[in-house]
């Protein structure tokens, strides 16, 4: 029974990772850029949700939508200002810029509102514990898991079945050829960032609702874990992010359950190292040879 409870704990922790990892992996899949600022957009999303709920007095779903919209705009702005000028630069230059943007958002937020934590109001979504034969499942974590699955399906649909998705895949395949075929590459990349950042915003509000406490540096660790989850599932692959997130959450819970709770974060990164050594393309990735 205890083992089952730990599995449930792991899945609810993992569904948060999965929600963040979806945006991560999508941006990487299209632009081949690891957007380290993703975790911080997640944080901004949590705060926008918080202020919509407390100051504008909105309910959970309107706040979620506002947060997603503002994060989408923020994501596009970041891409236009910070990443677009570097599109033809080396990948390491873009990566370093992403880290810079991440620090800018974190400390910009501290500058604006201070570093003290904020608590989400507790009465948004009823937090009842469902009891399955002694295993407690929080209704909120079911909601988060459900949200992640729905968003994953939606994302998969956008990327594979719509026109903009087709353009995204074309850009990801060969940016120059796509441009020659009449695809507006800039708009396509902006759309990618908008969708990815909106997902981060949604994850931020969900996190705030589930864990209550939000603060300006809250994006760092979940952002890194989501990165591990994305790599674990195969970076760039949308269902991979989902599975990677859940798997990572379960691994962490089981490590804590075995009495090594202080090793939990360490183990997450050991997973990253192991997967990079033994299966660099991730669980769902195919081994594609680089064309020379």
């Amino acid at each position: 029974m205890e083992f089952l409870q730990q599995l449930v704990n792991g899945v609810s922790l993992g569904s948060i990772y999965a929600l963040i990892a979806l945006g991560y992996t999508m941006v990487y899949g299209i632009v081949k850029l690891i957007n380290f600022a993703h975790g911080d957009i997640f944080m901004v999303g949590a705060f926008i949700g918080f202020y919509s709920i407390t100051i504008l007095d909105l309910g959970f779903f309107p706040s979620l939508l506002i947060s997603m919209a503002i994060c989408a705009i923020l994501g596009v702005l970041i891409e236009r200002i910070a990443y677009k000028p570097l599109r033809n630069a080396t990948r390491i230059a873009a990566l370093i810029t992403a880290i810079g943007v991440s620090l800018l958002i974190e400390y910009g937020m501290i500058y604006v509102r201070g570093a003290q934590p904020e608590a989400y109001p507790g009465d948004l979504i009823p937090a009842t514990s469902l009891d399955f034969f002694g295993v407690k499942v929080s209704s909120q974590s079911v909601l988060i898991l459900g949200t992640s699955v729905v968003l994953m399906i939606l994302l998969q649909f956008i990327v594979h079945k719509t026109k903009i998705g087709k353009a995204m895949r074309a850009v990801s395949h060969d940016m120059d050829a796509a441009r020659l075929m009449g695809i507006n590459v800039n708009n396509t990349i902006s759309a990618t960032f908008a969708i990815g950042s909106a997902l981060a915003g949604a994850a931020g509000v969900a996190f705030g609702m589930y864990y209550t406490k939000i603060e300006p540096l809250m994006g760092i660790i979940p952002g890194l874990k989501a990165f591990v989850a994305a790599v674990l599932g195969g970076i760039g692959i949308i269902p991979g992010a989902m599975v990677g997130g859940l798997l990572l959450g379960v691994i962490e819970s089981l490590v804590s359950a075995a009495g090594f709770s202080l090793w939990r974060d360490g183990v997450a990164f050991v997973v990253l190292i192991l997967i990079l050594i033994f299966r660099p393309a991730g669980l769902f990735g195919k081994n594609v040879r680089e064309k020379v």
């Binding site: 922790l13 201070g114 570093a115 003290q116 407690k136 209550t212 406490k213 660790i221 819970s253």
Partner: protein, 391 residues
Amino acid sequence: MRKKKLAGIFVSFMLAAGVLAGCGGASSTSGEKDDETIKIGANLELSGGVASYGQSIEEGLKLAIEEINKDGIDGKKIELVTFDNKSDAAEATNGAIKLISQDKVSAIIGAATSTNTLAQVEIAQKNKTPLITPTGTNSTITSKDGVLNDFVFRTCFIDPFQGTVAANFASSDLKVKNAAIIIDSSSDYSKGLAASFQKSFEGNGGKIVAEEAYVAKDTDFNAILTNIKAKNPEFVFLPGFYEEVGLIIKQARALGIDAPIMGGDGWDSPTLIDIAGADPLNNTFITNHYSSGDSDPKVQDFVKAFEGKYGGKSPDAFAALGYDTAYFIADAIKRAGSGDPEKLKKALEETDGLGLVSGDLKLDKNHDPIKAAVILEYKGGKQEFNTKVNP
């Protein structure tokens, strides 16, 4: 503002280099002090993770200094120089260097937490400037391995005492036989409380059935809480800080851990109630330095003055200890007759039976106060006075 702070950090680094290069040169500067105003530094957590501690202490300090300066101390007035250490140990060290070498203060008050106070101890010792922490309860602040840090003082009781009080309360008032401990392994404070709780609780014939650990900034505690639930303890001792404690209590109650949960003064913040929620906090207790519900006239006068100055806000223990610390120093200045750090240190050491809001203050040979503790219970999101325990 940010720029100024950055410049401040830069300057303090330069000064740090200067102090290290010129070793001991700083202590001779203390002679230049103005006789009329005595500068006292306050190195507090005014922003960052435990900002509510530092802000409360500052409010208490300001109220007390206002009262003291009304009549002055034999014609002298106290000037408070504050420094925000952003709840960060490295910043706290920089702040101590800045206050001593740049502002030339007679003594430093701070920091609120043990870790940030420990970060200043060496600077205070080296520069022979008294350092008084209002609320740093870790025992190693004033003496470590039998060696006394003779310039370091505190206004509060120490960790072993809080742990002992909690253990005795669990054994004799709640009559529990077994307990679980959850430690914040990144905090000296948490480890200190847990160690003394375990010793006293086992001394009372109790048994520790589970021990789990976490680190500050964690947000998901379901895994360790599930382990604890499996051991079915009658009592959970949780010496941590309000950010994580709030989340742990919320998640513990959701998992169905209904046992009483108890902690120390690290819980004492209104943010705890926001994070955990009022219902999960029922059946939880803390040991603390003071309670605004105490009927002692000294406490009631303080509560009235504080509410008057801060628009009806009720003072927490941090505010009370900040207030007491100012009187602790003022009393020593009066007896020392000047703001000279060495004379001040001697006068602080000789403090005996000084009547303060948080109880009568007398120091033992380790510079640790011997005074009473109160136990508070959370009921419907409010702290209620439960009982007072004398040393």
